[in-house]
C-alpha cells in the first residue's frame, strides 16, 4: 500500500524555521500502525526524529498530533488515516526537533501535585488493608501513561502552561485524593485552591476525546471541584 505523509520538520542545527516535508512510502502488509510506517520512513531518512519505545501503547513515548488530533502512533491504525497524513509534534510545547517536544513544563505540573502517596503513620508489618470497593475508586485514574496527549490538546494549558496544572496532573492529583490510604487530602486541595491551577479547566473535554487509555480527566477534575465546594459549605 502506497501512502502519502506530510511531516513537520525542524532541526535547530540547520533550519531557520519549521516546514512540512512530503514522504511517499510503500508500506508492507506487516506495517499496521502509524509507528510501523514512521520506522520504515526512518530507515530511508535517518534524520526523521521521533520518540518511541514499547510500541504497544503503555510507555507513552510516541504521542504526536495525527491529522489534527493527538494520539499515540503505535496504536493508531495507519490504513484508516486520511491522506496525506499530516503529522505534527504535540501542540503547545516547545519543539526540540521534528516530532520531539520539550516536556519540561508538562512534568513540572505533574510534579507540582506531589504525585506520591502521603501517609506518615506507622507502617504495619503487612500490607495496609483496602476494600475492593475502595480500590475500585482508583480505576480510571492510576492507568495514566503521562503521554501528554490530553494536556497538549487543552486550550487552557496552551494559554497558561506555567499556571494551570492541566488534565494529566489533575488526574494524578485526584488519583491520590481518591486513595483511602492517602492522608493529605486537605493539603492537596489547598495546593489546588487557586484561580489557575484547578479552575482554568472549562470542561472543553478535549482531554477525554484524545486520551489513548480512554481515561476521563474532566470527570476527575469535576470531583476535585466538588470537594472544594463541599469543604466551603
Amino acid at each position: 500500500m502506497k501512502m502519502h505523509f506530510k511531516i513537520y520538520r525542524f532541526n535547530p542545527d540547520v533550519d531557520q524555521k519549521p516546514y512540512m516535508q512530503d514522504y511517499h512510502v510503500e508500506l508492507e502488509p506487516a506495517d499496521k500502525k502509524l509507528l510501523d510506517a514512521l520506522v520504515r520512513l526512518k530507515a530511508v531518512d535517518d534524520t526523521l526524529t521521533f520518540r518511541r519505545s514499547c510500541r504497544e501503547g503503555v510507555c507513552g513515548s510516541d504521542a504526536m498530533n495525527i491529522n489534527g488530533k493527538n494520539g499515540l502512533a503505535c496504536i493508531t491504525d495507519v490504513a484508516g488515516l486520511k491522506q496525506p497524513v499530516e503529522i505534527r509534534p504535540l501542540p503547545g510545547l516547545p519543539v526540540i526537533r521534528d516530532l520531539i517536544v520539550d516536556m519540561t513544563q508538562f512534568f513540572k505540573q505533574y510534579h507540582s501535585i506531589k504525585p506520591y502517596l502521603i501517609n506518615e503513620g506507622p507502617k504495619p508489618d503487612r500490607e495496609r488493608l483496602q476494600s475492593p470497593e475502595d480500590r475500585k475508586e482508583l480505576d480510571g485514574l492510576y492507568e495514566c501513561i503521562l503521554c501528554a496527549c490530553c494536556s497538549t490538546s487543552c486550550p487552557s494549558f496552551w494559554w497558561n502552561p506555567d499556571k494551570f496544572v492541566g488534565p494529566a496532573g489533575l488526574l494524578a492529583a485526584y488519583r491520590f485524593i481518591a486513595d483511602t490510604r492517602d492522608e493529605a487530602t486537605t493539603e492537596r486541595l489547598d495546593n489546588l485552591e487557586d484561580p489557575y491551577r484547578l479552575f482554568r479547566c472549562h470542561t472543553i473535554m478535549n482531554c477525554v476525546d484524545v486520551c489513548p487509555k480512554e481515561l476521563n480527566p474532566t470527570k476527575a477534575i469535576g470531583k476535585i471541584k466538588d470537594l472544594m465546594v463541599k469543604r466551603i459549605v
Partner: protein, 588 residues
C-alpha cells in the same frame, strides 16, 4: 577536547524497576545519586510487565517462601544459584509489602489484602498444585509498580538525567570501576560521570531477535558496555520465549490470562497442554509451554490458514472477569490481533521475551568476574541488578512474576551494598584515569567520520534475522554453528555502520547506531554460548542433545567478549539456610 566531569556518590544507569528501587535506597540514605536514563523513567520497559509480582504472602491459600524457592530452582532447571534464590524468595513478602506502603495500587481481595492469582510454575507443597502467588494490579502490574517507584523517587528528590545515553564504563588501572561516560541526547554533548559506585540496571536486550515482546529500547546497553570494559557475560545462551505473544505483532499477552483460567487450543480444538503437562497443564513453566506450542505447530496442528499459531481461549471465564482482571489484555487483543477476547480466542506464538543471562553478580548485587583462578572476585565499585544482571536466580528458565520480584529485591540489595561500599570502603572518589573519555570519544568520532559503510537499519535487520533463525525455541548443532559464523560476519559489518544525520541535536540515528554496538555484542555472545552447550536445559532446547546432562553441564557459562572465548563456573548449590535442593527430573 576536554570532557566535562560531574561528580556523584553513586551513579545508576537505567530507570526501570531495579534502577528506581536502588535509587530510592541511595537517595533516602542521603547519598548524592544520579540516575541516567535514555528515556523518561516511566517509559522504561518495566512498564509493560502485566501479570504480577511473586511473593508467598499466602493471601488466598497457604504459601511458604520455601515452596517459592523450590519452584524457582525447578523452574531454573537447576542452573539457578540457590543462595541467590533463597535470598530472593525470602525477601519477597517484605519488598512487596513495601511497594504497597509506597502506594502501589494492588488489586484487593474481599478481606482487603493484596489480590493474588496463580501463575505458571508456581505451586504449593513443592510442586504439587498451583498456588496464588502473583500479586497483581489488574494486568498492569509493571505499570503500577514503575509509576509508584518513580513517584517515590520524586518524593526522595532523586536527581535524574533523562534522555541521556550511557556510552562506556570507566575502569582504572586496577580494574576498579570509577564512572561512566554518557551522551546528552538533546545537546549531543558527552559528560563523564565520576562516581564512587556505579550500578547498571539497563534491562534486557530482546531486540536481538526479529520477533520480540521487548520495547525498542531493550538494546542491551549495559551488556555492551560491560563487554567493552572486559567484564564477562554469564549464561547468554538462555533466552525465554514467552508462550503468548500476539501472532504477527509480538506484543505480550500475560500468563495471567491462563492464571485466570484461559487455555491454549491447537488446530483440532484440543487443549494440548494436558498431554505435555498433565498436572500443571496450561500453567506449566514457560519453556515447557513454548516448546509444546512450537511442536504442535511443527507437527501441523497449528491454527489459521497457514497453521502457524495456536489459540488462547478465555471467553469462558466471562466478560466480568476479563473486564476487571484483564482489561489491558482485552485492549491489546482488540488493537493488535483484531479480536475481542470476550467473544473470540487470541492467536498467539512463542515470542522472545526475557534474557536469563547477563552481567555476573552475587546475591548482593556486586558484579563478580574471574581473577587469578577464582571465578567470582568482586569488581570494586561495580553493581548490576534486574534483567541486565545474572545473580543467577532464573538459571535456564525464569518463572513468570519472578522478574518484577528480581527488580525490587536486587535493586534494593544492590543499593544497600553500594551504601556500605561508599561509607566503608570508598568514602572519597577514586581518581579517574587520564584517558577516561577517550574510548567513547573514539567511538563517536568513528561514527562521525565513517564513509562507505552500511545503514544501521540494514545491519540490525540482518542480525535480528540471524538470531531468530539460529537461536530459536529449538536449536541444533548445524544451525548454531552456522549462526556463529553468520553473526561474526554481521558484527564486522556493524563496525562500519554509517549515519547520514550528523546533527548534534537529538540525533536518534546516532543513538540507534550506538545501540547496535551493544546489541551486536549480545547477539554474538548468545550464539557462541548456545553453540557450546551440548545439552538441553530450561530454555536451551537442543535437538541433538535432548537431555539435561548434570555431570558435565550443571555449570554457568562465562563469555569473554574481547576474545569471544568461554569459561565455566560452578552453580551455587548451597542455599543460605536450608538444605540443597538436588536435581530431579523436571515434570509439570
Amino acid at each position: 577536547m576536554t570532557v566535562p566531569v560531574r561528580k556523584f556518590d553513586a551513579v545508576i544507569v537505567g530507570a526501570g524497576g531495579a534502577g528506581l528501587r536502588a535509587a530510592l535506597q541511595l537517595s533516602e540514605a542521603g547519598l548524592k545519586t544520579a540516575v541516567i536514563s535514555k528515556v523518561f523513567p516511566t517509559r522504561s520497559h518495566t512498564v509493560a510487565a502485566q501479570g504480577g509480582i511473586s511473593a508467598s504472602l499466602g493471601n488466598v491459600q497457604e504459601d511458604k517462601w520455601e515452596w517459592h524457592m523450590y519452584d524457582t530452582v525447578k523452574g531454573s532447571d537447576w542452573l539457578g544459584d540457590q543462595d541467590a534464590i533463597e535470598f530472593m524468595c525470602r525477601q519477597a513478602p517484605e519488598v512487596v509489602v513495601e511497594l504497597e506502603h509506597f502506594g502501589m495500587p494492588f488489586d484487593r481481595l474481599e478481606n482487603g489484602k493484596i489480590y493474588q492469582r496463580p501463575f505458571g510454575g508456581h505451586m504449593a507443597n513443592n510442586g504439587k498444585t498451583p498456588v496464588e502467588r502473583a500479586c497483581a494490579a489488574a494486568d498492569r502490574t509493571g505499570h503500577a509498580m514503575l509509576h509508584t517507584l518513580y513517584q517515590r523517587n520524586v518524593r526522595a528528590q532523586t536527581q535524574f538525567f533523562v534522555e541521556w545515553l550511557a556510552l562506556d564504563l570507566i575502569r582504572d588501572a586496577e580494574g576498579d570501576v570509577v564512572g561512566v561516560t554518557a551522551l546528552e541526547m538533546e545537546t549531543g554533548e558527552m559528560v563523564v560521570f565520576h562516581a564512587k559506585a556505579v550500578l547498571f540496571a539497563t534491562g534486557g536486550s530482546g531486540r536481538i531477535y526479529a520477533a520480540s515482546t521487548n520495547a525498542f529500547i531493550n538494546t542491551g546497553d549495559g551488556l555492551g558496555m560491560s563487554v567493552r570494559a572486559g567484564i564477562p557475560l554469564e549464561d547468554m545462551e538462555f533466552w525465554q520465549f514467552h508462550p503468548t505473544g500476539v501472532a504477527g505483532a509480538g506484543v505480550l499477552i500475560t500468563e495471567g490470562v491462563r492464571g485466570e483460567g484461559g487455555i491454549l487450543l491447537n488446530g483440532n480444538g484440543e487443549r494440548f497442554m494436558e498431554r505435555y503437562a498433565p498436572n500443571a497443564k496450561d500453567l506449566a513453566s514457560r519453556d515447557v509451554v513454548s516448546r509444546a506450542m512450537a511442536l504442535e505447530i511443527l507437527e501441523g496442528r497449528g491454527c489459521g490458514k497457514d497453521k502457524d499459531h495456536v489459540l488462547l481461549k478465555l471467553d469462558h471465564i466471562g466478560p466480568e472477569k476479563i473486564m476487571s482482571k484483564l482489561p489491558g489484555i482485552r485492549e491489546i487483543a482488540i488493537k493488535f490481533a483484531g479480536v475481542d477476547p470476550i467473544k473470540d480466542p487470541i492467536p498467539v506464538v512463542p515470542t522472545c521475551h526475557y534474557q536469563m543471562g547477563g552481567i555476573p553478580t552475587n546475591y548482593k548485587g556486586e558484579v563478580v568476574a574471574p581473577k587469578d583462578g577464582n571465578p567470582e572476585v568482586r569488581v570494586n565499585g561495580f553493581y548490576a541488578a534486574g534483567e541486565c544482571a545474572c545473580a543467577s536466580v532464573h538459571g535456564a528458565n525464569r518463572l513468570g512474576t519472578n522478574s518484577l520480584l528480581d527488580l525490587v529485591v536486587f535493586g534494593k540489595a544492590a543499593g544497600n551494598s553500594m551504601i556500605d561500599f561508599i561509607r566503608n570502603e570508598r568514602p572519597a572518589l577514586k581518581p579517574l584515569p587520564a584517558n577516561a573519555a577517550e574510548f567513547s570519544q573514539a567511538r563517536l568520532a568513528r561514527l562521525e567520520n565513517q564513509t562507505g559503510g552500511e545503514e544501521v537499519a540494514d545491519v540490525r535487520a540482518d542480525m535480528q534475522k540471524c538470531v531468530q533463525l539460529r537461536a530459536g525455541v529449538f536449536r541444533n548443532s548445524e544451525n548454531l554453528a552456522r549462526g556463529v559464523a553468520e553473526i561474526k560476519a554481521i558484527a564486522e559489518r556493524a563496525k562500519r555502520t554509517q549515519i547520514k544525520d550528523k546533527s548534534r541535536v537529538f540525533n536518534t540515528a546516532r543513538i540507534e547506531a550506538l545501540e547496535l554496538d551493544n546489541l551486536i555484542e549480545v547477539a554474538v555472545a548468545t550464539l557462541v554460548c548456545a553453540e557450546a552447550r551440548k545439552e538441553s536445559r530450561g530454555a536451551h532446547a537442543h535437538d541433538d542433545f535432548p537431555d539435561r546432562h548434570d555431570e558435565e553441564w550443571m555449570k554457568h557459562t562465562l563469555y569473554d567478549g574481547q576474545s569471544r572465548q568461554l569459561a565455566y563456573k560452578p552453580v551455587h548449590t548451597k542455599p543460605l539456610s536450608i538444605d540443597y535442593i538436588a536435581p530431579q527430573k523436571r515434570v509439570y
